[in-house]
Amino acid sequence: MSEPIGPADDMPCQELVEVATEWLEGVLGPDERRRVEAHLALCDGCDDYVAQLRATIVALGDLRDAPPSAATRDAVLRRLGEWEGGPA
């Protein structure tokens, strides 16, 4: 278990997890940002939490379908070319 021994205004972990998205989005004010980063430097638990959040985001991006192969793409474009203007 991590031992927080930070400054008096050290952000509690329960607060950090609630501002984590705003921090990652870059919309926190400079004071809040400083408090988050100060806390992360001291708290393994929160550091791990943010790492998990980031890993989740990477895994989500990985779910995006792989782009179609060149052959598939060509076949689709050919079909589209044959389909002149669609239904009347």
């Binding site: 927080p4 972990c13 985001i57 895994a59 203007g85 669609g86």
Partner: protein, 179 residues
């Protein structure tokens, strides 16, 4: 396409909307100017069709109203039981039990089983969270693009993103965490 549609019009209409959107894509393809990626352009058509369809189904709230409701206060990112209480004399609000390391590392996270679990977890999210997380984190749209396409405020978009990600992290934590 169906997943994005489903978040906006629900399960019953999602396939139909996706097909309508696909027709729209085929009809409009010669007008596609390539200013965005083809995939983005297609999904914008899906979102548009879904929103229009939702408005026509008068029994439903407008999507922006559903989003406001979902963004209302009250859903913590992490179960409060994971933290020490506010009256703890040394470390109020700090982790009672720190997050466990995820076993197996990156390989396990990106392997098929984890991907399937994550996919099911996305489908289990409330519709607004599902739509925002899908467009932001799966498809890679910017916050601005999502807000414009869905006609929602940046704040609401962020709250939904926050909550959706929190739930998905928790789902992965259940699967990958130690103990």
């Amino acid at each position: 396409m169906v997943r994005i549609a489903r978040g906006i019009v629900g399960e019953a209409l999602a396939e139909e909307v996706a097909q309508e959107a696909w027709l729209g894509v085929l009809q409009g393809i010669d007008r596609f100017e390539g200013r965005s990626a083809l995939r983005t352009w297609i999904l914008r058509i899906v979102v548009n069709r879904a929103r229009t369809r939702r408005e026509r189904e008068r029994r439903s709230l407008p999507f922006s109203a559903l989003v406001s409701a979902e963004a209302a206060p009250g859903e913590p990112a992490v179960d409060p039981d994971r933290f020490l209480g506010p009256d703890h004399d040394r470390w109020p609000g700090h982790w009672a039990a720190a997050p466990a390391a995820w076993r197996g590392g990156e390989e396990r996270l990106l392997a098929r089983e984890a991907r399937e679990l994550l996919s099911r977890a996305i489908d289990a999210l409330p519709p607004g969270q599902r739509t925002v997380v899908s467009l932001r984190d799966v498809e890679g749209w910017s916050a601005g693009e999502v807000c414009n396409a869905l006609d929602i405020t940046e704040t609401n978009q962020r709250v939904l993103l926050h909550r959706g990600r929190a739930r998905l992290r928790a789902a992965l934590d259940d699967y990958l965490g130690e103990g």
